[in-house]
Symmetry: C2
DNA sequence: TTGAAAGCGCTAACAT
DNA sequence: ATGTTAGCGCTTTCAA
């Protein structure tokens, strides 16, 4: 299974020999600029023929070295396990390719050391740009890129050392919460008992969403003990929600689930305690087709992946420097399942 | 935002100049082989000092060109939108990194042209190996790799031109179906009315799973009109299941959902017709935490991503050629929600 | 209309 | 113990 060295990859010199011409002519022909150099069309034909007889394929590494362009575009992302990040990865690939770049997406598992390591690796591979997605406090990574002279933009979680693209977390959360409050009221519940679950304290997206949550609940005294930024682990969210469930009547009449990951924890409890679906409603920032079908009234905010990625490329392609730029993209309310029926 | 050319990336020559030595000494020092060459530790220290004063980072493209090693490892995958493929991508990254390779994962959206294009791109980038995951009839892609002298293995869907790694689809499906039949019987349903939904006719995994399904239902006459290999589109599966739901009593008492993607279609119908959860049970090949929490008895078969990827690397690292090799990995029964309670 | 030659950044014989 | 040199495969200027 080892790479067979015998069938060595062919080079422009092999083609030149076979076509009875020189390497430079081959290069000219293969790059389409042979018209400009008025190369004989017979020669050109012979070259092309030889090239595909040999199954020639340009060595992009050599080409990149010569041109000091790699045609690689990098993106770092926490993981692929939810629709938001999966969508970002796929859309990044599509948009990179449409620009003639080869996309290189790498996941970091939200680990600081891994984040740094993958960015270093991307830079060593001479990527021409990098998108840093979902990294809390990305400044160090931005600086690494700046040092290498590589354009860099932050996505999802912003920083001050590079331009950033984010969803309208606050506005989206406000809309979501307003809907949730109405729903709870319609069901005769006490909106001051609505909970906020998931995300990390001090993290931009979480704090913005919490701010939106507070704006929409400003009309009454919120029970602060129900605001729990308990991270992104489904298990932690599950333990928390399970403990509420054990309280019986004390279970929140509505939950704002900050991140679909925490929502997994809710789903796990729901599986064991189906009656929760009669007693509570959910508002979740992020979308998932299965979560949308859980037997509980649920509203979901879907981030606009296409425009988020589009904005990143736009910032990168801008002529002027714009460290401070921050583009905000509106998310859309995707699913409101069973809301407003007042019965669950 | 353009790349600033002023802060040109430093090279070993810059370091050599600053450290008052030569480029080769720098190279030797930076590659750790300076011990072997008995380079003065003062010189080595000066070199290292200069290197990080300049923020030096090896140009892997130049290095690769010289060594004819790229230290890139490629994998093509249909998409990232379910846990199976997301898991494959993440595990591939981890295992590639642990071998000192830079992982490059690209998605193809199950499109033939894109599949070919991304493989060509990976080869042009001189990747040292490629994993072709989830591609039906991967022979052409395997041949492209063989032509380039690059080791290649198929994952999930096998081919004859390269070794393959697959899950035990037949065995897994048999186990899953056996459980489903028991469940349907326990609920007083007619097991001959169990349906098989999703996947493509003629595709390896689908046919294997169908074979396992048939083995487990061999004891009675199956209603063949309920075997529907209707592809991977959630919308198609949704339309199909919705039409069954409209038949009322004709709804299958159990469904073998071949692929989590088709299961999304079921979830969508379930959201509108919650009563289906009382009347049917699901067996799904693949796992998703939200799907596992749907209000319907559901059994899920989770593929062993770590071992699948591990087997791929093992095949690639083998010394002997092994085109015909096919490694089978056992999946595990992950969730049996509400099964055996006979009430749903 | 085409070929020779230089050089992108790096490594590894081979000299010294 | 360290420097010189010759490429890896490609592009592009310049000369012919």
């Amino acid at each position: 299974m080892r790479k067979r060295e015998d069938r060595a990859r062919s080079t422009i010199y092999d083609i030149a020999k076979r076509a009875g011409t020189s390497a430079s002519t081959v290069s000219l022909v293969l790059n389409g600029s042979w018209q400009r150099y008025r190369i004989n069309s017979d020669t050109a034909a012979r070259v092309r023929e030889a090239a595909d007889a040999l199954g020639y394929r340009t060595n992009q590494r050599a080409r990149g070295l010569r041109l000091s362009r790699s045609s690689l575009a990098g993106m770092a992302i926490p993981h692929y396990r939810n629709r938001f990040f999966a969508g970002l990865a796929e859309e990044f690939e599509a948009q990179a390719r449409s620009r003639g770049l080869c996309p290189v997406v790498v996941s970091t598992q939200r680990d600081r050391a891994t984040e740094r390591f993958v960015i270093e690796t991307l830079l060593a591979q001479q990527v021409e740009m990098v998108i840093v997605a979902g990294v809390d406090r990305p400044d160090i990574l931005n600086e690494l890129c700046a040092l290498a002279g590589i354009a860099c933009v932050n996505l999802d979680l912003p920083g001050s050392k590079a331009p950033s693209v984010v969803s309208d977390n606050r506005g989206g959360a406000r809309r979501l919460t307003t809907i949730l409050v109405d729903e709870v009221r319609a069901r005769g519940g006490d909106p001051s008992q609505i909970a906020f679950v998931g995300g990390n304290s001090g993290e931009y997206a979480t704090e913005e969403r919490l701010a939106g949550f507070r704006e929409a609940t400003a009309g009454f005294a919120l029970d602060e003990s129900r605001v729990l930024r308990c991270g992104y682990s489904p298990a932690t969210a599950e333990a928390l929600i399970e403990s509420w469930a054990r309280q019986g009547d004390g279970f929140p009449p509505g939950i704002f689930v900050n991140s679909i990951t925490a929502c997994e924890g809710f789903a796990a409890v729901l599986r064991r305690r189906l009656e929760l679906g009669q007693r509570t409603s959910l508002a979740c920032f992020d979308w998932d087709p299965f979560a949308a079908s859980l037997p509980v009234p649920i509203a979901m905010m879907r981030q606009d992946v296409d425009r988020l990625i589009g904005a990143c490329f736009e910032l990168i392609e801008r002529e002027e420097p714009c460290e401070a730029a921050m583009i905000t993209v509106e998310p859309t309310l995707e699913i409101v399942s069973a809301f407003g029926t007042a019965a669950g």
